[in-house]
Structures are given as structure tokens and as C-alpha cells.
Symmetry: D2
Subunit: 139 residues, 4 copies
């Protein structure tokens, strides 16, 4: 399956689109995504909601883990929150493949600000199903 077909399906992810997450880079085992923190993405303390930071990391995770064409589902993610970011900040999440097994794979997910400040860091494991991304309904 071509990376183009995979990219196309990933880009149609409804929740990622809803948050305005953009897929900047996609290659086998790697991805980079970005989002701009809007007013509706803050928490009650006035900083970006943990769910928004996680969603951005998760978007990178899904892209990288499905990049081989084998449909992958998240089993576990451990996220550490390191710094806040202001309203309007542009945030990036990059997924790096640490390990690719037959049935599971492990990714490092780093969320950073424009200036490189680490906002959050995650370690995530997927279960690699025996289905392919291609089997999902296309455009």
C-alpha cells in the first residue's frame, strides 16, 4: 500500500480535523503534526488542556504507527506534561519508532513549541492488527 493512500486516510481523521491538526510529515515509522492553540482548547486554569496536548501527540502516534500499512491500535500511552504554552502557540508533535515487532510497536512522541521547548513527552505502544489501513473505507 502506498504512503499516499495511507496519508489520505489519516488526513480524513474527523477529530484531528476538528482540532485543526495538520499532517506535516509522514514516512515509514515517522510523522510530524502541528496545531495552533485556540481559545476553546484551554483548560479552567487558562493553559492548553491536557486533552489537546494528548490529542496532538496521539495524531502523530496514529500516523507513524499506521505508516507501514498494517492497521495499528493504541494499547497504552504514558504522557508526561513538562511545560505550558500560551494561547495562540503553534505546537508540534513528532513520532519516532523505537521498536517495531510483529504484533506490537513502540513510539516516542514529543510535543514541542515553536522554539523547541519540550511541552510533553510520551511513550506509546500499539497492537498491530492483521488488517490493513487499505481495508478502511476510502475517499
Amino acid at each position: 500500500m502506498s504512503l499516499e493512500g495511507i496519508r489520505e486516510r489519516i488526513e480524513r481523521d474527523p477529530f484531528a480535523r476538528h482540532l485543526g491538526i495538520e499532517l506535516l510529515e509522514l514516512s515509514e515509522g515517522h510523522s510530524k503534526v502541528a496545531l495552533t492553540v485556540g481559545e476553546g482548547m484551554l483548560n479552567f486554569a487558562g493553559i492548553p488542556h491536557g486533552g489537546v496536548i494528548f490529542s496532538l501527540a496521539d495524531a502523530a502516534f496514529a500516523a507513524a504507527s499506521n505508516s507501514h500499512g498494517q492497521l495499528s491500535v493504541a494499547l497504552n500511552v504514558s504522557i508526561s506534561f513538562l511545560a505550558a504554552a500560551p494561547l495562540g502557540a503553534r505546537l508540534y508533535a513528532e513520532a519516532t519508532e523505537e521498536n517495531l515487532g510483529r504484533r506490537t510497536a513502540l513510539y516516542r512522541l514529543a510535543v514541542t513549541a515553536e522554539d523547541g521547548t519540550l511541552i510533553a513527552l510520551c511513550q506509546g505502544t500499539v497492537y498491530r492488527t492483521s488488517r490493513t489501513v487499505l481495508e478502511l473505507p476510502g475517499a
Copy 2:
């Protein structure tokens, strides 16, 4: 600080409101929240996005960990995804305090479906700051 004042601030959380998350229960060290899975909350595989599930758990986490009046910020959350849920499903997240220290506290966050099926389970740690929730701007 009264639980009512804390509840009022938590309920004004912009991202939780954006997702339609409702605060059902709040007492010291405990909370329960709910959300209905809408179309914009799915991922590219057609099931609720990991970011939505996390956000629901995180809303319960924030409510319970701030319920003592001392402003708490998430340090780390480990989430395990156990089952999917269909579009339109009503999901609940319940936070239980496992440990309350002077500087940190630990919570169990369980996301369940209407029939009690466990959708996701998290363990989350907060850092308890020396500020109070009351210091946040009020209504």
C-alpha cells in the same frame, strides 16, 4: 474554599465545554464526568479518537485533583485503551483518589460505557502547587 466555588471554575473549562463534557459528581478526591460521542470525535478508523477518551479521563482527573482547593497540575498519565465504543455512545469517566501527599497525589481514572464496559483505564499523578483554585479568575 467551598466545593461550589471549585465546581463553578471547573465547569467553565473551555475545552471540556467544547466537547460537551458534563460534571456529574464532585466531592473531595472524587469526580464523575460524562460525554456523548459525536461524529467529529471519531478517528480515521471510525472509532472514538484516543484524544477524546483521554480528554474525558483528564476532565475527571482535573476535577478530583483540584477538589481540595489546592491548584493541581498533571505531571503524568498512563492510559490503557481496552475497548472501542460506537458513535452516539454515552461515556463516563470516574476519578478515585489513590494517594494524597503534600506535593503529589495519584488518581485512578476509569472510562466506562453505559453498560459498565471498561473503555480505558488510567493512572495519573498531579503536582500540588502552593496556589489555590480560588486564585483563578472567577465568573
Copy 3:
């Protein structure tokens, strides 16, 4: 496969024996183990080493996750350290099955002191292989 055969194999675990870990309870999806903190189990700050606390939790995890007879291997464990314990303390770890899937399963692992104080709390996921515990060499 009988629980007795499984218990026998688990009790021959070399590292658990080396640390003096005892298997107190074993039933399907549940186990309880114990250990007494000896001098050689402390860390440089004079409290029980994180590796000892983890090993105790891991022993309960292995017992409970293999209790169904299907050989299970740890994929991920998230451990939170909550309190220290003195030299000579009797520590317990109890494993509770939170979820049992076909290919993975999730356990809560609680390490407590004699008086019930929570020393550490873990969430652990196993991959359930297609081999059985019985296939391991017997006594």
C-alpha cells in the same frame, strides 16, 4: 491446565526465590505475594530500592497473568512510588485483573505495607502468547 501446575512453575521462578518472594494466593486473574525487606534490598538513600518494589509487583503480575494457563509476557508497566518502608518491613503485592482480552490483558498491582499503607501502585499490560504455561519445563 490445573492451577496447581501453574503455581508449581511460578514458585520455581529463580529471581523471585532469590529475593525470598512468597506466593500467598493464586486464583484465576488474581494473586498475592509477599517479601521481607532485607539489608541488601535498600538503595543508597537507605530505603527499599525501587527495583525491589517493582520486582514484588512484577511477581504478582506474572502469577495473575499466567493463572489462566496461557503464557503471558509483560508489555508495559507504569509504576508510581507513593511511600517508603523501613528495613525489615513485610511488603505485599496484590494483582487484580482489570481486563482480559484475547491477545492482551490489564492488571492493577498494589504494593502495601502490613498496616495497609500504599507503597506503590502499578498498571501493567501483558501480551497473551499462543503457548501455554504447561509447555515450560516442569519440576
Copy 4:
């Protein structure tokens, strides 16, 4: 406080000595340790016990997080087990500082075999106390 004084205290860690863990490298925010898998370190399935792998990672974690002289205690570690290693294998754990805050710090802990194979990968958070490593009793 000199790194030499810190190194001396870390090297007297009773449990690390008991397992034969050697401190190979120590600098501010970084450390590398090693261990040889002995017969008493296996689990009931005949591979290195999860507790041994964790203990090695934890030794690197303790060394790196205390390297600044401020006494640090582990709050949380998430460990992913990626590959087994045979009896007699030489294993290494390297700790890298991902973030250093005033009250908490985050480390990446990688356990590898002689040939570089990733055996386990962890993300660990410490709480940085207001005591110093120097306050611990010396030689």
C-alpha cells in the same frame, strides 16, 4: 557538591551491588550502568526477570537524577519490555535527562544488549527534594 562525592554514595547502593550493577559513566544529567545476567536473575519462563531489567534501568535513573547533587526520589516510571536476553548476557542501561525542572525532572532510560538491541525503554519522573545527596551518611 563534587560528582566524585555523589558517585561514591551511589556506588554504595546495597541492592545495586547485590545484583552486580556497575556504574560505568556519570556526568550531570547522564549515566550508564551495566549488569551481567546470572542464573538467579531469570524468571520462571527462563528469561531475565522483569524486576532485574527494571532494577538496571532504575540504577541509571537514580545516578542521573541525583547527579546534580539535589536528592531526587522516583515518582513514576513507565517501562516497556521489548526483547528478551539470554543467560550470561551483558546488559546496559543509559539515562538521558529529557527535562530538568525545579521540582521534577524527566529521564529516558534505555536498556540495551551488547549488540545495541533495545531490551526495554522507560520514561521516569523524579521529585527533586530540598535535601542534598551530601546529607546522606558518607563512607
